[in-house]
Symmetry: C2
Subunit: 292 residues, 2 copies
């Protein structure tokens, strides 16, 4: 019953149909039921009717979740091979934790790289959010500047979330995958929260290694695409707009830009760990805001 | 000993001297100690040396914590008198909780509005961050779009943090005020986290009422400035850059723009509560991103 009914549950309305992300105006033309009229009155009372934006071709901007100026073309020339050689036992702990987590993941997904990407991106969005929040609270509590690191980490979290929004257009989770994601988040959010509270340096190193593995998995994904084992379907509309891809872009182009994003996250997190290793707080070095 | 030694503690290095927020280049010219050279090597290995930016007058952008395109001129014509009349018992709970919290706050600060602003902004930065994080986790967990609300709430949190960064330039906390802030955050963060988990609609209403009180307090602050009871000192450099104020702006100009920000937060949070009251999720209505 679960797997059949979930398409009707309101909370996944966007997930199943990206064209549902219409602008407010379009919804008005479509004829609103009574309750939505009430809501419009409220929105007008508070004066917060959002600005509408246009695409470069003049058509209305279809996404509420990101604006035209948040799109970018990732640097595909980034070095995919960079690696931090573990230098002390904390580094080794971070490195081997990631390797240990890789094992069951490989067994579970095998060669289903699309499904793997979708599932793992639900986890990848957690560390940046936790780190950004902790630095924000620290800044408030200690009357101290952030050096831009709150923003850098929140940008990483948002970027990972956009990976998820993209992959869920090409791979749909079934009910037990959804249940697994909910449980994994419950465990991972709390574990990473504690981890970041107690040892932020090791936490950033851990994410650095996680990203190194992500690069490896996306490279495997590309190989399967090139071998024809996974169908190279057209890129979802959201990906074309977010990464400024050509209109005829394919899944392969999407995996290439996502992999470049992961390499950027790897750099930011290893760098953050390096700063802390020198006994400094992150805000003592300017953050790589907008580093893609 | 606490109050005398805290200026030497590294974690408040920025707090006591905003010119310490120099660009990387300036630091290099100033001659770096050995450890910072190591760090530069790391930063170069990871390739994350941040871009430098320029002010409109061509001088280097001095802030790491916000970039030129994040500055804005708030809409000072915003209606300061808007109020949500409590409609049900949840609204009344939110309204009277805020009124009850006001009492001890008034007794503690009396007419010290500068100190009050600085202390309360350490709390004001919490709800937006908690709400934004919860929506982010929900989006990941349920494979659903955000409608821009994660960003809208995180922007509110960042804006409140900038209020703090501004007021701490004109009022310095002493050791027991610092201790009070740490304890208050410990209680408030956990309380609001639970509150938002269990009843997000009431949580947003609560913040809406909190902002109504903030507007009232900043109006009182302005009255004291106009009566000459509080000295109308020059605006801090950070405020002039963040709100694009004229170079000769004063504390009065700062309080005016901050009060307008609070009115915007009031609108966003009452609106969010209204959406949830209609039985909808926030992402079903486009969020007011960049609403100042
Ligand atoms: Fe990712
Ligand atoms: Fe990543
Ligand atoms: Fe504020
Ligand atoms: Fe506020």
């Amino acid at each position: 019953a679960w797997s059949q009914s979930f398409v009707n549950v309101p909370h996944i309305r966007w997930a199943s149909n990206s064209s549902a992300l219409r602008s407010d105006d379009e919804e008005k033309q479509a004829g609103k039921p009574k309750s939505e009229e009430n809501e419009l009155v409220h929105s007008k009372y508070w004066g917060v009717v959002p600005k509408t934006h246009l695409k470069e071709d003049g058509s209305p901007w279809p996404w509420n979740c990101f604006r035209p100026w948040e799109t970018y073309t990732p640097d595909l020339t980034i070095d995919l091979k960079k690696h931090h050689v573990p230098e002390n036992w904390e580094d080794k702990l971070a490195f081997w934790s990631v390797k240990a987590l890789r094992l069951p993941t490989d067994l579970f997904f095998r060669k289903r790289y699309g499904c793997r990407a979708m599932m793992l991106e639900t986890v990848a969005g957690v560390p940046g959010m936790v780190g950004g929040m902790m630095l924000h609270l620290r800044s408030l509590r200690r009357f101290e500047h952030s050096g831009g690191w709150i923003k850098a980490l929140l940008e990483e979290a948002e970027n990972e979330r956009m990976h998820l929004m993209t992959f869920m257009e090409v791979a749909k989770p079934n009910w037990y995958e959804r249940a697994l994601v909910v449980m994994t988040q419950g465990v991972f959010f709390n574990a990473y929260f504690l981890f970041y509270l107690l040892a932020p340096r090791v936490a950033h190193r851990f994410v650095g290694y996680l990203e190194e593995e992500a690069i490896y998995s996306y490279t495997k994904f590309l190989e399967e695409l090139d071998k024809g084992k996974i169908e190279n379907v057209p890129a979802p509309a959201i990906a074309i707009d977010y990464w400024r891809l050509p209109k005829n872009a394919t899944l392969r182009d999407v995996v290439l830009v996502v992999r470049a994003d992961e390499a950027h996250h790897r750099d930011v997190n290893h760098y953050a760990s390096d700063i802390r290793k020198e006994g400094k707080q992150l805000h003592e070095e300017p953050a790589p805001v907008g580093y893609h």
